[in-house]
C-alpha cells in the first residue's frame, strides 16, 4: 500500500476532533477526485437524522434541506445501505423511477446542488446499527483498487468519529477506594499477609480479604498485586 495512504490512515487515528478528521479526509479524498462527503448513522424510519450525523462536509443549504425534510428516508442512496454490505455508486442505488416521486425529487434536488454523482460506503456496526460514508464526486475513473482504498479510508473515518463521539461520561472505572481499603492495601504493599494485616488492624483475615476484593472490583484489577500497583499508580495510597 502506498505511503500516502498509510500516513492518512495513521493520521485519522491520531485526530481528536471531528474538524481535524474533516481536514485529513478532504486532503485524502481530493486525490481521488472527490469534493465533499458526509459521515452519518442511519436512523429508523421517521426518525430525525440530525443526531446521527458524525461529520458533514456538505453544502450548508443542502445539508439543512436534506436533514430537516427527512430526505434520508426517501433517498435511494441512503436506503440502499440497508440492502448491501458493499460500496456502490449513487447511480446504482435502485428505486422505482416511474412511481417513486419522492425518491426522484431527492435525486433531482441533489443534482441541482451539484451533487449528481458519488460513491457510497455502507457501514454495518455491531448490533445491527447502520451507518454511511457518502462521497460526492465522479466515480467512472475509479478502479477496484481505488474503490477498496476509499472503502478502507471511509471505515477508518467512521470508526474514529464513532470513537470520538462515544459517551465519554461513562464512569471510567471509578478510581475511588475507601479509607479502610487504602489502609489495608498500604500494608499489603509492604508485603504483609492477610493474617498479619488482621493482627495489625484488629480485623479478621476474612474481613481483610473482603476489603481487598472490594478494592479489586472498584479498580477493575485481576489480583492483589495488580490492585496494589494500580492503587499506587493512581495515587490512592502513598507509601
Amino acid at each position: 500500500m502506498n505511503a500516502d495512504l498509510m500516513s492518512t490512515i495513521e493520521s485519522i487515528q491520531h485526530q481528536t476532533s471531528s474538524d481535524a478528521i474533516l481536514n485529513v479526509m478532504y486532503a485524502a479524498l481530493g486525490e481521488y477526485g472527490f469534493e465533499s462527503f458526509i459521515v452519518s448513522g442511519l436512523p429508523d424510519p421517521g426518525v430525525d437524522v440530525r443526531p446521527f450525523v458524525l461529520l458533514s462536509g456538505w453544502d450548508d443549504e443542502w445539508y439543512e434541506r436534506y436533514t430537516s425534510k427527512g430526505y434520508v428516508h426517501l433517498d435511494p442512496v441512503a436506503r440502499n445501505c440497508f440492502s448491501t454490505t458493499l460500496p456502490f455508486d449513487w447511480s446504482d442505488a435502485p428505486y422505482d423511477r416511474e412511481n417513486d416521486a419522492a425518491a426522484r425529487r431527492v435525486m433531482q434536488e441533489a443534482r441541482d446542488f451539484g451533487m449528481d454523482e458519488g460513491f457510497c460506503v455502507p457501514v454495518h456496526m455491531e448490533g445491527g446499527m447502520q451507518g454511511v460514508v457518502s462521497l460526492v464526486g465522479k466515480t467512472a475513473h475509479l478502479d477496484e483498487k481505488a474503490r477498496l482504498e476509499l472503502h478502507m479510508l471511509s471505515l477508518y473515518a467512521h470508526g474514529r468519529l464513532r470513537y470520538l463521539n462515544s459517551p465519554l461520561s461513562r464512569p471510567v472505572v471509578r478510581r475511588g477506594i475507601t479509607p479502610r481499603e487504602a489502609e489495608i492495601l498500604k500494608w499489603a504493599a509492604t508485603g504483609k499477609t492477610a493474617s498479619e494485616i488482621a493482627d495489625i488492624t484488629g480485623l479478621t483475615p476474612r474481613t481483610i480479604n473482603q476489603h481487598c476484593e472490594n478494592a479489586q472490583k472498584r479498580l477493575g484489577t485481576n489480583n492483589r498485586l495488580h490492585t496494589v500497583v494500580e492503587a499506587i499508580r493512581h495515587k490512592l495510597i502513598t507509601l
Binding site: 498509510m6 448490533g127 445491527g128 446499527m129 472503502h151 470508526g159 474514529r160 471509578r174
Partner: protein, 219 residues
C-alpha cells in the same frame, strides 16, 4: 458473562467447552458465513492451528452456555496469517513475531447477534483479547478479516495498521492488519463498551513462557 482461557490439554470441563466451541465455529464460519474450505463431515471446525500452541478465549453466559469465542495463536509458531493468508501480508510485522499473536476465529453465537443491541458478547471478547494480550506481554495482535473490522476496532479506540492492501476475497473485502496492544487500548475498549472489570480469571494466567507449553489455566 464469564471468560474461560482454554489451552490444550485442558481439564474435562474445558474440553467440553472446547468441543462446543468447535461445533459452534463450524455453524458460524461454514454454515452461516459460507467458508467452504472449513467444511467437515463431522460438523466440527478444527484445523491445523487448533493445536497445543493455541489459546482459546471463550465466553459463557450466566447459565454456562458458550456465547462467543476467539483463538489466539503465536506468530513464532505455524499460524494462519503467515500460511493460508500470507498473500494478504505485504508489510513487515511491527516487531519480532514473539511479541505478537494472531487473532482468529472471532465469533459471537448467531442467536446473540439479533436485534439492535450492542452485542455484549462481542464487547466482552474485544476486552478479553486486549486484556489477554497485555497479560502475555504482547505488543501487537494481527488479524485477517472482513474490512469492517477496521471500523469496529477504531470505534473502540484501537490503533490498527494494515499489513497489506485490502483485496476482494470470495466477494468480500478482506484485510490483514495489526492492532497495537497497550494499556490505553484496554482502557479505551473498556470505556466504550462499559465493561470496566477485568475479565481474566484471577491470577491463574501466568504468561505462556515457551511456545507449545502444554499448560492450562482454566477455572
Amino acid at each position: 458473562m464469564k471468560l474461560h482461557i482454554v489451552r490444550d490439554p485442558a481439564d474435562l470441563q474445558s474440553r467440553e467447552l472446547l468441543e462446543q466451541n468447535f461445533l459452534l465455529r463450524h455453524r458460524v464460519f461454514v454454515e452461516l458465513e459460507g467458508w467452504e474450505a472449513l467444511r467437515r463431515p463431522d460438523g466440527r471446525d478444527v484445523d491445523a492451528f487448533d493445536n497445543a500452541d493455541a489459546t482459546h478465549l471463550l465466553i459463557t453466559d450466566s447459565a454456562g452456555a458458550l456465547v462467543g469465542g476467539s483463538r489466539i495463536t503465536p506468530l513464532d509458531r505455524p499460524n494462519l496469517l503467515q500460511t493460508v493468508f500470507n498473500g494478504l501480508v505485504h508489510g513487515e510485522l511491527p516487531a519480532h513475531p514473539s511479541l505478537g499473536a494472531d487473532w482468529t476465529r472471532f465469533y459471537v453465537h448467531p442467536d446473540r447477534r439479533e436485534g439492535r443491541r450492542r452485542a455484549p458478547e462481542s464487547a466482552a471478547l474485544f476486552c478479553a483479547v486486549m486484556e489477554y494480550a497485555l497479560s502475555q506481554g504482547l505488543s501487537y495482535i494481527t488479524f485477517v478479516s472482513s474490512i469492517y473490522m477496521l471500523e469496529h476496532g477504531t470505534a473502540v479506540g484501537w490503533r490498527i495498521t494494515p499489513l497489506g492492501a485490502p483485496v476482494m476475497s470470495d466477494g468480500k473485502p478482506t484485510i490483514a492488519a495489526w492492532i497495537e496492544v497497550s494499556e490505553q487500548a484496554l482502557s479505551n475498549v473498556r470505556r466504550v463498551t462499559g465493561i470496566s472489570r477485568a475479565l481474566m480469571p484471577g491470577d491463574r494466567s501466568p504468561p505462556v513462557t515457551a511456545p507449545g507449553n502444554a499448560g492450562f489455566y482454566v477455572r
